[in-house]
């Protein structure tokens, strides 16, 4: 049986409208107007144990609402949802004992305490056996390299250090399912790589299912074999990254460093960027192969350096969101 089953999930929020000006504020005391926001309009997907899924969408699409329902915080209006065989919001305590959640923007650690004391407290809260706790702690501390900061109060940690500790905290009770919400936000490059590598290992070696919600497309590209795109409360797209690329359009990029500033016009390619001798061209590999295009260019212009690559994933996703908007409107 799939680890996560979601079917026709619906949730609407009633938001009070704010009135403008003094008269509006006074009127607002007497009578409040409301509008209905449909955060989830029939979301459905399944996730098997051991998958590493990216869950993306524009702001306000319903990502965090979905995660809140899946983690048991929020009760939906309609629909079916089962995680590890339980309905999250009906069996809250049982359910949360078997999942881990990391919020990139809020720490779950106790601010004034040394890190290790937060871990000890969590051990008692989650009722973990002492030897299991010790074993897991040792592995996680080594994997995320936080041995040196275990005795440091959380408020003295850097963002990268704190994030690594939060990941450890979320895994101390050995959950088979991990939700990560913006885990690399604000981190410097080495920290990002460390966290990414850890997640990859966790998923590959231990089979922990990971649901990753993020705006950082590099994370998605580096980690996720499968991406689910949500927009305006509906699943727009669900498949591999390559399938996503294919869906949006198969343009590839050719970046050139020419010898001169001469203007460039090549049939079969359009100019995306131009700065002095540096040119970025977009072309459709179905119509013209990279080799042919390069040949065409070098016939007319001496080239100092070149690079062929896929368009940045941000662009793919942005295009995807635009298409989603068109489709749903």
């Amino acid at each position: 049986m799939a680890q996560i089953i979601v079917e026709n999930l619906r949730k609407r929020f009633i938001v009070a409208k704010r009135r403008k000006g003094m008269l509006g504020a006074l009127a607002g005391v007497v009578h409040r107007e409301h509008r209905v926001v449909e955060a989830l309009a029939g979301v459905g997907f399944t996730v098997e144990a051991g998958e590493l899924v990216g869950y993306i969408g524009p702001n306000g699409a319903g990502k965090s609402t979905t995660v809140k329902v899946l983690s048991g915080i929020l009760v939906p209006d309609e629909g079916r949802c089962e995680v590890q065989g339980r309905v999250p919001w009906l069996e809250r305590i049982e359910h949360v004992a078997h999942i881990g959640v990391v919020f990139g923007q809020r720490t779950q650690l106790w601010w004034d305490l040394p890190v290790v004391e937060s871990f000890d407290l969590l051990r008692d809260i989650y009722r973990v056996e002492q030897k299991d706790h010790a074993r897991r702690l040792e592995q996680l501390v080594a994997a995320l390299d936080i041995g040196g900061i275990l005795d440091t109060p959380v408020r003295q940690l850097s963002l990268g250090q704190r994030m690594r500790c939060d990941v450890v905290a979320a895994l101390l009770h050995g959950p088979r399912l991990l939700f990560l919400d913006e885990p690399t936000i604000g981190l410097d490059a080495p920290a990002k790589l460390a966290v990414r590598e850890f997640i990859r290992e966790l998923n590959r070696e231990h089979g922990t299912t990971v649901i990753l919600t993020t705006h950082d497309m590099d994370d998605i590209e580096a980690l996720c074999s499968r991406v689910v795109v949500i927009d305006r409360g509906r699943i727009f797209c669900d498949g591999s990254l390559d399938a996503l690329r294919a869906r949006v359009g198969v343009e590839r990029r050719l970046t050139l460093e020419l010898e001169s500033d001469a203007s460039l016009e090549i049939e079969g390619a359009r100019i995306v960027e131009r700065e002095g001798p540096r040119v970025v061209l977009a072309f459709d590999p179905e119509r013209i192969s990279p080799a042919a295009l390069i040949a065409r260019i070098t016939e007319q212009h001496p080239v100092r350096d070149l690079l062929v690559e896929n368009p940045p994933i941000e662009e793919i996703v942005a295009r995807l969101y635009d298409d989603a908007r068109e489709e749903t409107s």
Partner: protein, 266 residues
């Protein structure tokens, strides 16, 4: 049950250790709280000095009520502080994390903070109670001590319940209504004086809606061997029952609040 107690002790240790990092400040503030309540008692003393008695109650007798009420309230204030800061938690989104832990929400919110400085009021309450016992020449017998103890337990439960109610409001409105400070701090001020001096409507509210009379006035009558009766003698021993029942009711209200939070998403 014991497992919860063990976890509570851990939370308690964490909270206290965190506060003891600022030892000097804690001590000063505790003395401050001690003196605050001391000044209030001076006001009461001054009135007795001038008027002699309060409807047949002497200063020492009222001091007994005063001591009991303040000791009970001090415990509730110290232990229930988590509920006080709860409003901020909801606004920050920190309550979500509470929901993500495999423990009861009220337990977590209540256990998260034990405010040491509130024990300043405890010291003052004990001092006033001590004065009352000495001044009244009360024999410190086991039943008397048990009666006082059970009354204080009941009182602490009621005041804690009121703090829970105050926190529950935060699920609905952002402003933790000052309204409820009325009932908590107003409640302890009311309990410091004999219920007999209050108007009927007022007295009934603090007897039947919030059973403060049963955890303070009625046991005091028994301890002081006073002639007034408020029902059968054994009622004086029922304080913990009233307290726990009231607290239980308040916690039901809390659950309604949590349900509301989980369906509206804060």
């Amino acid at each position: 049950m014991f497992e919860h107690l063990r976890l509570y002790t851990r939370y308690f240790a964490v909270s206290v250790r965190s506060q003891l990092q600022y030892r000097a400040s804690v001590l000063m503030t505790m003395i401050g709280h001690l003196l605050v309540t001391g000044f209030e008692f001076f006001g009461m003393w001054a009135l007795f000095d001038r008027f002699g008695q309060l409807r047949g109650w002497s200063l020492a007798e009222v001091a007994l009520l005063y001591g009991m009420a303040n000791i009970a309230f001090a415990f509730a204030e110290a232990a229930g502080r988590g509920f006080k800061i709860f409003g901020k938690m909801v606004r920050n989104g920190d309550f979500d994390r509470i929901l993500l832990r495999p423990r009861g929400t009220a337990f977590q919110v209540g256990a998260q903070h034990f405010e040491l400085v509130r024990l300043g009021r405890l010291l003052q309450g004990l001092a006033v109670l001590g004065y009352a016992v000495v001044e009244l020449d009360l024999i410190v017998s086991a039943p008397r001590v048990a009666l006082l103890g059970s009354a204080i337990v009941g009182g602490a439960c009621i005041f804690t319940g009121l703090f829970v109610v105050q926190a529950t409001v935060a699920f609905w409105t952002v402003e933790s209504l000052e309204l409820f400070a009325t009932v908590t701090y107003g409640g302890v001020e009311t309990a410091q004086y004999p219920m007999a001096i209050y108007r009927d409507g007022f007295r009934n509210f603090f007897t039947y809606v919030i059973p403060l009379a049963f955890v303070n006035y009625v046991p005091a009558l028994a301890v002081l061997d006073r002639p007034e009766s408020f029902g059968p003698q054994w009622l004086a021993w029922m304080s913990p029952l009233f307290g726990v029942a009231f607290l239980w009711l308040c916690l039901q209200g809390w659950r309604v609040g949590v349900r509301h939070y989980r369906s509206t998403g804060s």
